[in-house]
Each structure stands twice: as structure tokens, then as C-alpha cells.
Symmetry: C2
């Protein structure tokens, strides 16, 4: 009878369900009980097509989910209940992972080559931005069935959600921004096209209020912002000198615009190809200063209180992380937390920062005030770290 | 054997555990399974000493927990994993509710008369602000054992968390602000006293970055702000005309400062005793305009994108809610969602607003763009509505 009961229990207990193998595998110490999901996170293991579910409170891995395809350039979003992660792989795979039961609940290969996605503000639609065949496809968040297919005659980049069941995306080939409004009919979005955004948008960023969409340009200098509250929305050029300075300048990595930070009314952003962080006034778009740093910056990420900015770097300086004081704009700390630091994620209220050290096969956890190491988690070539609090944010 | 198995299951299944009665009671439709907690919430039932656990996704109540004492002026905070709610009752009761299993896990009566609390940024300490005997007491978030007792020779108000295991509170009798830093020793906080804050602080507000603490004064006009990044922090008076205008002016309810909103660089705040919302520049503290509204405003709450502000009112106008356009500062919508609207809570990305209609014994759910009613939930004289996303915010 005990064995029978245990079998029955195994059917309902979340993290134990796949402890015997299968797609998900529980790591030692996995708790076999109901639990809150507000302190969970997911780490992309880029080389092995797997993700690691982690627990912020215990600073530990809970389990690994495999079989997600090519995650060499992957990102993810969370469902509003903070239970499901939608993982966008480079190979066009869209995977839905249940982080409570540690299972790959569903997976569709929806394109040949994809570059990220977003979830609508009601949690019902997941959109994916595609290089091949281009355009955007939209899926039912519950079933992953296709709801809408919006070809745009172009590769798309910088897909982000906006309030009111909207998605915003930029088109690489045609230099446009498309606003897709699914609020009236999920399957047939109302489309607003903003033309003349600039040559070859390569990435974009939505401010956290969902109002301003900022497009980075590969084909020319400067950036373009669009005020989505304006009717109609129009492109506005800012930071006209921002971008690659000389044609022969080696740029080891074009910085993601998600590496930007808006602290108060000031942007801090990685200079392209230079060992500098740039400061710009958010209202005017004018540059207001520069801070010299240890390498080519990739992410300039504000601690949640905005008082410090943490910077990581492109190769060959990707073992260094620097901390800039947001008031003095001076480097106050230089750290060597591990080899190949690809990403930094703060706990929601900023007490800790988690860093992926790809070439050390671990995630390193630091106290954001003392800079002491609080813990480490083994991970296979980790890249992006995503905490569930992202479920509640606009513009990701 | 089946019965024995079911008994075993009942021990581990979260929401079914108390379906047979006891402290928690499951409502019809309760799901007996593990679930994410990112879309849960808690509604205070002020007259019955109970709380209702609600599900944002299903727009439904999950269960009720009773036995929390006097909740006539109650608030709560959440643990970082979004599983536990710490409920601060008027009678000095501190209750820890497990919203997954729907149980009152622990309860201590820690004072004779209390006025709110906060949780530290590492989730380890819960602080309570007391009228009687005054001061602040700090408890272990896990066990509710007392960790520290900080008498201040005064009633205390406006307790809020700040980054780095700190709490900030104002003293009614002595006109001070105390900063308690528990980072080195939880049991023996380092205390910074800011004197000369003004006569009789009655409430306070922390900005969401944990930098600026704003104190409302009952004994004189104006408000006092303190920049917690300054060393030492000093009081600065703003809005010198803010407050009760004539001694004989009837003020039906002193507005909570949590009713303030910071939208961009502008504060929107309820005028005391007047049928107006005031606008002020956050940097200078100067008033920049007024909007006439339908009654004495209580809460002026920004939709998460900041484009609209929703306003509720003191009696006799507490059946009305108005929506102000954040760009034009004009009232764009007047609603009558129910009787005795005490509180408004937005879903994290602003798609819906939930309103407590105390005198209708229900929670009313509106679409924030169409203003259509999306649902209702029966509740006993509901007051505060708290969604779990608050676990991730600073300064609550």
C-alpha cells in the first residue's frame, strides 16, 4: 500500500514527477512539494539546448530541462502566474517549459531562424520575431497553436510587448516599425506601420512604461525613438553620433539595446566599439558625458534602485565586471567574478546579482553592496539568466 | 487503501488541504494542484477579520482564511517567493498566511495597536510600526519570533523598506525619521535619526527606488522629503501650501500618502479636504497645476504605464471613480463601479483594475482601456487588494 500511495503521490507532486529521468531531471535536493514561484528563475545553457531552473532563496539549481534545440542566441518570457517559461531558440523553436514540474510541456518549430519573442499583457498571446522567413508569428500561450502570421517582407528584430495586447517590432530590410494591436481580434491584428525609421534596425528597446520604442541602426549612425502615445506615432532621431565610428573599427559585439539603462531621466548606454559608457539626456537625446571603462561594454545594467550601474564586456575583457556610481559616474569597483561573463540579473529588489560565467560553467552570485560572493551554481555554459519577476514587466 | 491514499494526498495537496473546514476554507472550484503564485492576490475583509485569496487569471476567489483579528485598518506584504502574506492588523496582530495551502500558518499579537509593516529586501525580516506602545518591532519572517525591539518614545507611522535590510519610519510625537539598518546585525540595527522633520507626521511614502522618503504632516502645512542617498540625510520641505487649508474645513479622510503617484517627473496627489488633484514637479516640489474632481480624493493611482490616473473618493462620493488623462490632466471618464470603493489595484502590467466595493460586498474588475466590467468576486466588506507582484517592489 505504501508503494501504491507513493505512486499516487508521484502523479501530483511537482518537482518529483520527473526525478526518474525523462525530459526533465531533478537535481539533488529537489523539494517534492508545492511552492511559490516568485523566487524562481531560468538559466539558458547555450551549448546543450537545456535550461536550468533555479531558486533565488536557496541560491540553488532545482532541475534541468533538456531538448530545447539551438539555444546559442536564446531568450525567454514568463506567463503571468510565473509558472511557464516560453523559450525562443535561434533555430525557430518555441518551447513552453513548466518550471514547477520541470517538464518541456510543448515545443513547436515555427520558423527557420528566430530572434526572440514577447508575451502580451494579458498573458494570452506569445509572439516570435523571425529572420527566416521574416515577419512575426503569434501563438496561443496555452496551446502554442498559431493564432496569426504577419509577414512583413523583412527580417524582424527587437520584438517587444506594449500595453493593450500589442506587439512592436522593427524590420531590418525595410527600416520600419510595425505596431500590432491584437485587442479586437487576436487572429487579425490592426497594423500601424511607422516608415522612415532608418537603415537596417538591428535591435530595439521598449521603455518599461511601454511608451517609447528605441531602435538601434546598423546601416547608419544615431538611433530612432518612437512615442507610441502619439497619434500617429512618428520617428525621431536621437544621439546622431551614436554607432560605429570608423569603418575599420573592430567591434567584437554589437551591444544589445537591452543593455541600455534608463536611470531617472538619464540613459546609460554602451558605446559601440569603444571602451566607454555614454550618458544621454532621455528628454533631448543629447549626450551628456562619457565614462571610461575596462573594455567594450555589452550590458550597462542599473541595480534596481538605480544608484549603481553594472557593466560587462566583450571579449577579450569578458572576465571583468565594473560597477559605476550613478551619481558621480565614476567606476567604483572592478571585479573578476569568473570567465566569460555573458549576462547579469538582479534579484527583484536588488539585493543580489547573478552572473553567468560561461567559461567556468557556473552562475556566480554576488552581494550588490559588499561585492562578496554569496554562492555559485554549476551550469553548462550558461548565458541568459531570467528571474520570474519579469512576468510582471512591460516591454520585454 | 484508496481512502488511505486520499488521506496521504490531502496532506500534500495545497488548496484542498483545508477544504473540509478549519481555519482556511476552500471555495467551490478550488483546484487541488501545484500552481504558480505570480497571479495570486489577497483581499482584506475588514469587518470579519478574514482575507480572501484571489486568482487574477481566473478572476475568482480561491479560498478564505479567517481568524486574523481586527482588520479595520490592515495592510500586508508578501514573501519574495510570493507564497506568504504578512498581514498587519489594527489590533497589533501580525499574521502569516500561506496563500498556497490557504492556512493561517502563524499569528502573534505583538503590540496593542499597530499601523502597518514592511518586509526587508532579503525577505528575512518583517517590521511592524506601532501606535501602542510605539516604536518598531522586527520579526523573523520564517518563525515570527521577535528579532529586535526599537522603542522610539513615540507612535510611529509610514514604515517602509529600503534597500540593504533597512527600514524607514516617522515618529508622530517627536517629528523625526529613523533609518534602521539591519544589514550587519539583524538584532541590533544601526540607527540614523533625522530630526526636525515637522510637527506630527501622520503618514509617509517611499519612492519605488527606495531613495526618497516623503512625510505628510498633520501639525503643520507642507511635506518633508528626505534623500536617503545623502550622507547624512537631511529634511527638505516641499509643497509649503499642502495640507488642510482652513481650521474649520471638514476633511472626511486624511489621504494616505500611498495615494500619491509619481508619473515621470510629476507627482499627482490628493488635495486635503478639497475636490482637487494637485500636480507637483518632483524635482522642485513646486505645485504645477490642479484638476477638479468629483469629491475629496483618497487614492490617485497611476495605471502601470502612467498614461492614466485613477481616483477614488471619500464619503459621500465613494461610489464614484474618475480617470484622469496623464497628458492633458483632464478627467476623461467618470465611473460608478459600486458602493463604497475603498481601494484600487492594477494587474501588474495594467490590463485590469480591481476595485473593492465595500458596501456591495464585492470586488469589481474593470478593463482599463474599455472601462467595461470583466467580472465580480463576492467578498465580505472588502478593503485593501494586494497582488503578489508587490513582493518584488521596494518601499511598500
Amino acid at each position: 500500500m505504501i508503494r501504491a500511495c507513493l505512486s499516487a503521490l508521484a502523479l501530483v507532486l511537482p518537482l518529483a514527477a520527473h526525478a526518474q529521468g525523462g525530459v526533465g531531471s531533478a537535481l539533488p535536493g529537489t523539494a517534492a512539494e508545492a511552492r511559490g514561484t516568485g523566487d524562481l528563475g531560468v538559466v539558458i545553457e547555450r551549448a546543450t539546448g537545456s535550461v536550468l531552473v533555479v531558486d533565488q532563496s536557496d541560491r540553488a539549481a532545482l532541475c534541468r530541462v533538456e531538448g530545447l534545440g539551438d539555444l546559442s542566441h536564446a531568450s525567454l518570457t514568463f506567463s503571468p502566474d510565473e509558472r511557464f517559461a516560453y523559450v525562443f531558440g535561434r533555430d525557430g523553436g518555441l518551447s513552453k517549459v513548466d518550471i514547477l514540474t520541470c517538464t518541456l510541456e510543448n515545443r513547436v518549430v515555427q520558423a527557420g531562424n528566430a530572434i526572440g519573442g514577447a508575451i502580451s499583457d494579458d498573458g494570452k498571446l506569445v509572439a516570435v520575431s523571425n529572420y527566416e522567413p521574416g515577419g512575426v508569428k503569434v501563438f496561443d500561450a496555452d496551446t502554442l497553436e498559431q493564432v496569426a502570421d504577419i509577414p512583413m517582407g523583412s527580417k524582424t528584430v527587437g520584438l517587444a510587448d506594449a500595453p493593450g495586447s500589442r506587439f512592436v517590432v522593427a524590420t531590418w530590410d525595410t527600416g520600419e516599425v510595425w505596431v500590432l494591436d491584437h485587442s479586437a481580434d487576436p487572429a487579425d491584428p490592426q497594423v500601424t506601420q511607422v516608415k522612415g525609421v532608418g537603415a537596417n534596425p538591428y535591435d530595439a528597446l521598449m521603455t518599461s512604461d511601454g511608451r517609447t520604442y528605441i531602435v538601434g541602426l546598423f546601416g547608419e549612425k544615431g538611433l530612432t525613438t518612437i512615442d507610441l502615445w502619439a497619434d500617429p506615432p512618428r520617428p525621431r532621431r536621437i544621439l546622431p553620433d551614436y554607432g560605429k565610428n570608423q569603418p575599420d573599427l573592430p567591434v567584437y559585439k554589437m551591444p544589445h539595446l537591452q543593455g541600455w539603462t534608463l536611470a531617472g531621466s538619464t540613459y546609460a548606454l554602451p558605446a559601440v566599439g569603444l571602451h566607454q559608457v555614454l550618458w544621454a539626456d532621455a528628454a533631448s537625446g543629447a549626450e551628456t558625458g562619457r565614462t571610461d571603462v575596462a573594455g567594450q561594454p555589452v550590458f550597462v545594467t542599473a541595480r534596481p534602485d538605480g544608484r549603481e550601474l553594472w557593466v560587462n564586456f566583450a571579449t577579450p575583457d569578458n572576465g571583468t565586471v565594473q560597477v559605476i556610481d550613478g551619481m558621480t559616474r565614476e567606476v567604483k569597483q572592478t571585479l573578476q567574478p569568473g570567465k566569460g561573463i555573458l549576462h547579469m540579473e538582479f534579484t527583484p529588489r536588488g539585493r543580489e546579482v547573478w552572473l553567468s560565467a560561461r567559461d567556468d560553467d557556473k552562475v556566480v552570485i554576488l552581494d550588490t553592496r559588499t561585492y562578496e560572493k554569496l554562492g555559485e551554481i554549476e551550469a553548462r555554459a550558461p548565458s541568459g539568466i531570467f528571474f520570474t519577476t519579469r512576468a510582471h514587466r512591460t516591454g520585454l
